[in-house]
Symmetry: C2
Subunit: 212 residues, 2 copies
């Protein structure tokens, strides 16, 4: 019996498999050893049937014993409040973890996601490229000097930053060995591997159901 | 004597005045009645002399009695932990405030900022326009049904969302009366007016210094 339920789609196309953001919450639960269940909402018509629970029609949606919240970043910070494996409890370590979690969402992902969205829609050399290059270079400088972003150890900030950086379009952009090694360190963790394999298995099972 | 120090630039050009993100932290301190000091770092050469404290060369930078952190969103959540005027203390109210704070950073600003950046660089009808339109429409639906985003009252989530939405390029895009009224409600608060006037006064004083 688990109190934590992670809601995701019941199926997605090939492209986003392994990258749907329920993975962030699965990964956090695996790191912390928190029991959790995964439940699904229909991917089809997600923007009508899902809007009552999530105003932007997105996943994941977290339910912690009846306490419901959307936004993967918010879910991660909420889970970090449940177990200090995800965020240290000393004020400095907690502040560093919070700042790097927000940096992943608002200084890195805010540039990388619109950038690869534009590339995907055919605007290969779009005007965000220079901005992305600058941000990734600044981050490379940081990651050249430390193993993890905050508090001298793996935290939820690394979980999120590594998930932002592991996107293939981002990894293929520029030669950034420290960032490459950082993403490898994070994604070699057993908790990531379990979360990733479980997400793929869910969508493969959905394929089988659809084919039947 | 105040424990909270907000670091910002000593000068900025006309364009960003009233929108530099130290305003978010000033506003939060004003709402909570927290004493604070404002100190400045040189705007010129910000990307070299400031990188030791802020890896992306940005402001603001918050110092709370020696506890230092960057990212305005992180600073807001940190300040919200100091006073319940910014975030309710009941679990549901706190979770709602957290989710909407992250939504402002990662579901709205992640689309609006790159969008107006592209417009500023001359790409007026860029491919992000449809995405921005959809997100703002989803938010308009939410704001048509409630006065504030979380917990039935003003929270730090509204402070942040209103700051994201009050950008003139965003306000000028589409007819969204509920969002207009929401931004007006937030920016008519005395705490916003004080924070805004104080930021403008700082940069005007800097003009006078430069001219002298």
């Amino acid at each position: 019996m688990s109190d934590v339920t992670i809601w995701t789609y019941d199926w997605v196309p090939e492209g986003p498999r392994g990258f749907v953001r329920d993975l962030r919450l699965r990964w956090a639960c695996e790191e912390a050893g928190l029991a959790y269940a995964v439940r699904t909402i229909p991917f089809d018509d997600r923007e009508t049937n899902h809007l009552a629970r999530q105003p932007f029609g997105q996943v994941p949606y977290l339910d912690d014993g009846g306490l419901e919240m959307f936004e993967s970043g918010a879910g991660l910070l909420h889970l970090a409040g449940k177990d200090d494996k995800l965020m240290p409890r000393d004020p400095v370590g907690a502040a560093q973890t919070l700042q790097w979690t927000i940096a992943a969402l608002n200084s890195i992902e805010m540039v990388t996601v619109p950038w690869w969205f534009l590339k995907m829609t055919g605007d290969e050399d779009n005007e965000l490229t220079g901005w992305v290059d600058k941000r990734l270079a600044q981050l490379e400088a940081i990651l050249s000097a430390r193993e993890w972003l905050a508090a001298g150890r793996f935290t939820v900030a690394d979980l999120l930053m590594a998930d932002v950086l592991r996107v293939p379009t981002v990894r293929a952009f520029g030669d950034r060995p420290a960032s490459d090694a950082y993403v490898a360190r994070a994604t070699e963790r057993p908790a990531f591997k379990k979360a990733w394999a479980d997400q793929l298995a869910l969508f493969e099972a959905a394929d089988a159901m659809r084919a039947a």
